[in-house]
């Protein structure tokens, strides 16, 4: 009986990982061979010019916020249709002064100062505050460390000629890639995640994700949804599922590129990924039922959505199947050949990791016509192993806070140094 249970759990784990493996494979092949008329919608940006409010939540971002604001002044979008709202979220450094200087110089810049009593409690709260003062038909969010293309607004807003589109997500690439091994690994993850994963999901009519930054949203949609959920740590994933449940679609605009400053050390990497994992798991429990029952979604969208929701459980399952595989291999060996299948999850892991897997990253690098960065692909295994611990800890913390009845979670802010420019 115990053996049967052990083998059943093991088979279930391997099946789940195989599903993710096939998913990554389908995405990679789609990115390679299916070239849909992607930039067609962004061409509408040449004439379709809705009013736009750019929202920039910033907390202690003096090192980087000036760079972004300066870049926005260089943008090609007509300034009479553009409004920039900087939400100074209780900053203790010079962020507030820099933002005020821009607001004094440019009429289309506004600064909202949130005091220490209300500020610093997460990005969702800052964004909700910004929406209240926004007048544009389309909202575009940028994190303070981002550096967009000058025509990114046209590229993103062009998609809104389609009444079904609620959110448009742009591509994120890493600005400080050469600095450390960690930033190089993040760059690889971004290449796989955006150039292959998001693009394929868009082309296959699945669920491209809203990344929370470099994304454009209809203002009436965000008002209809009641704003961003303040209690979810990944307000972007939460928004993705809310948008689909409301019947809208998310489009991915690969041609709308924006640089970000990636984390540069393992400590920051841990903090950021821990927040993402915990927030994603919150979304899993929040949306599992409502998403599955939504009338607005097709079966393939529901399947992909469920796989996206379960993404951060995969490293935990990987860890579990390693353990189980080792137990079965060493404790119950009949002979070496009969029990070799117990090592299956080890091989599965290489293909079905938490983030963009090796193959997906390789395809992304090939499509981007880059070579040198591919040399560090094997090091991705390190971040995969790291993610097993990060996600396990995130699940443990989430269970603890559920047991303790805590609804508000600490928002671990990622520090930016702005050393790349």
């Amino acid at each position: 009986m115990f053996d049967f249970l052990l083998y059943s759990i093991f088979a279930l784990l391997v099946t789940t990982m195989s599903l993710y493996l096939i998913r990554h494979y389908v995405f990679s092949l789609t990115a390679l061979y299916k070239r849909k008329g992607q930039p067609l919608y962004s061409l509408h940006g040449l004439s379709f010019r809705p009013t736009v409010s750019v929202l920039i939540p910033a907390r202690d971002e003096e090192a980087v916020v000036g760079r972004l604001l300066n870049r926005i002044t260089e943008m090609t979008y007509p300034k009479d249709k553009l409004e920039v709202i900087i939400v100074d979220d209780a900053s203790k450094d010079d962020t507030s002064r820099i933002a005020d200087e821009f607001a004094n110089t440019y009429a289309y810049f506004k600064v909202l100062h949130r005091g220490a009593d209300v500020g610093g409690r997460g990005k969702a709260r800052a964004l909700n505050n910004g929406v209240k003062h926004a007048t544009g038909e389309i909202l575009i969010c940028f994190d303070a460390d981002y550096y967009p293309q000058v025509d990114i607004i046209e590229k993103l807003t062009g998609y809104f000629v389609d009444p079904e589109v609620g959110v448009v997500q742009g591509r994120i690439t890493v600005l400080n890639e050469p600095i450390t091994l960690v930033s190089k690994l993040v760059a690889l993850e971004r290449i796989g995640g955006y150039r292959v994963d998001q693009l394929a999901r868009d082309n296959l009519g699945l669920i491209p994700q809203c990344g929370g930054t470099v994304c454009a949203i209809r203002r009436d949609l965000i008002e209809y949804l009641g704003g961003w959920d303040n209690n979810v740590l990944t307000e972007d994933t939460d928004l993705t599922f809310q948008v689909y449940e409301a019947g809208y679609k998310i489009r991915y605009a690969n041609e709308a590129e924006c640089y970000e400053e990636a984390v540069e050390n393992w400590r920051s990497y841990w903090r950021q990924r821990h927040r993402w994992a915990k927030g994603h798991m919150q979304c899993f429990f929040k949306h599992l039922w409502s998403f599955t029952r939504s009338r607005n979604l097709r079966l393939r969208e529901k399947v992909d959505g469920l796989l996206v929701l379960g993404l951060y459980f995969v490293p935990i399952l990987v860890g579990l199947s390693w353990l189980l595989g080792a137990v079965i291999f060493f404790v119950y060996p009949v002979n070496w050949f009969d029990s070799i299948w117990a090592l299956l999850p080890v091989f599965m892991y290489g293909s079905a990791g938490n983030f963009a897997s090796f193959f997906e990253v390789g395809v992304g690098i090939y499509l981007d016509r880059r070579v040198r960065v591919s040399w560090i692909i094997p090091v991705l295994l390190m971040s995969f192993v790291f993610n097993v611990f990060i996600c396990s800890k995130a699940l443990f913390d989430l269970i603890l806070s559920k047991v303790a009845g805590r609804k508000v979670h600490d928002w671990a802010k990622t520090a930016h140094v702005g050393g790349s420019t």
Binding site: S18, L21, I22, Y25, S28, L29, L32, Y33, G37, L40, Y41, L43, H44, L46, S47, F48, V161, D162, P163, E164, G166, D220, L221, Y224, A246, G247, Y248, R295, N296, D338, I340, W341, L344, F347
Partner: protein, 218 residues
């Protein structure tokens, strides 16, 4: 043992399929014929008879919930997108002089009778036919071909993943963006750009095929 063999086989197929595709790829032998996209194959349209909307005079205009009721009465399955968009899950024909205040998203072909007024945008996953003197205040989007008959006014852009045919005296306030050919009458006006991967033809007498079912509703 069997499981191991099947798993190994699946794994091998998955790993080596890109290699096989790459090896089977046709060799580049210099200038090639320009590839023309077979649009018609991809265009969605259900085999069922389209649902006629607004045949009785009482139903000639609709807002929000009313539209859903009219559609449901006519036998169309619908769903709401946000607060001001209605999705219809079948081919639809709107009768002449019908007025709609919502955005409309049709999961099949859409035919709009003469003199209809849409206060927002319309989208069809199949072909889209717009009758004479129709006013669409928003954008017109189709994943198939778009045909716009005489004297229509489009307040936004026209987007088509197929071809676009535009009749006489049509006014389009923004752009036309299409994957296929764009044919327009010389007396029509597109205020901004015409962008296409096909051919742009300006004709004195463009042949505009009448949509199926339009004669039934007049």
């Amino acid at each position: 043992m069997l499981f191991l063999l099947i798993a190994a086989l699946v794994f091998l197929v998955l790993v080596f399929s890109p290699l096989i595709i790459e090896l089977k790829k046709p060799r580049d032998k210099g200038p090639r014929r320009i590839f023309r996209m077979p649009f018609e194959r991809r265009i969605r349209s259900s085999s069922k008879k389209p649902v006629m909307i607004g045949l009785s005079s009482a139903d000639n205009s609709s807002t929000g919930k009313d539209l859903e009721d009219i559609l449901n009465k006519a036998g169309a399955k619908t769903a709401k997108i946000g607060k001001d968009t209605t999705r219809i899950f079948c081919d639809v024909v709107f009768s002449p002089r019908f007025e709609v205040s919502d955005n409309i998203v049709v999961e099949g072909a859409l035919t709009v009778g003469d003199s209809c007024v849409f206060h927002r945008s319309i989208k069809a996953k199949g072909n889209l036919y717009i009758g004479s003197s129709v006013v669409v205040k928003g954008n017109v989007v189709s994943e198939g071909n778009v045909t716009i008959l005489d004297d229509a006014v489009i307040g936004g852009s026209v987007h088509s993943e197929g071809s676009v045919k535009i009749g006489e005296n049509v006014f389009i306030a923004l752009s036309v963006v299409a994957l296929g050919d764009v044919e327009l009458h010389e007396n029509s006006e597109v205020k901004k750009n015409i962008l296409t991967r096909g051919v742009i033809k300006m004709l004195r007498h463009p042949r505009v095929d009448l949509p199926p079912g339009l004669d039934e509703i007049d």
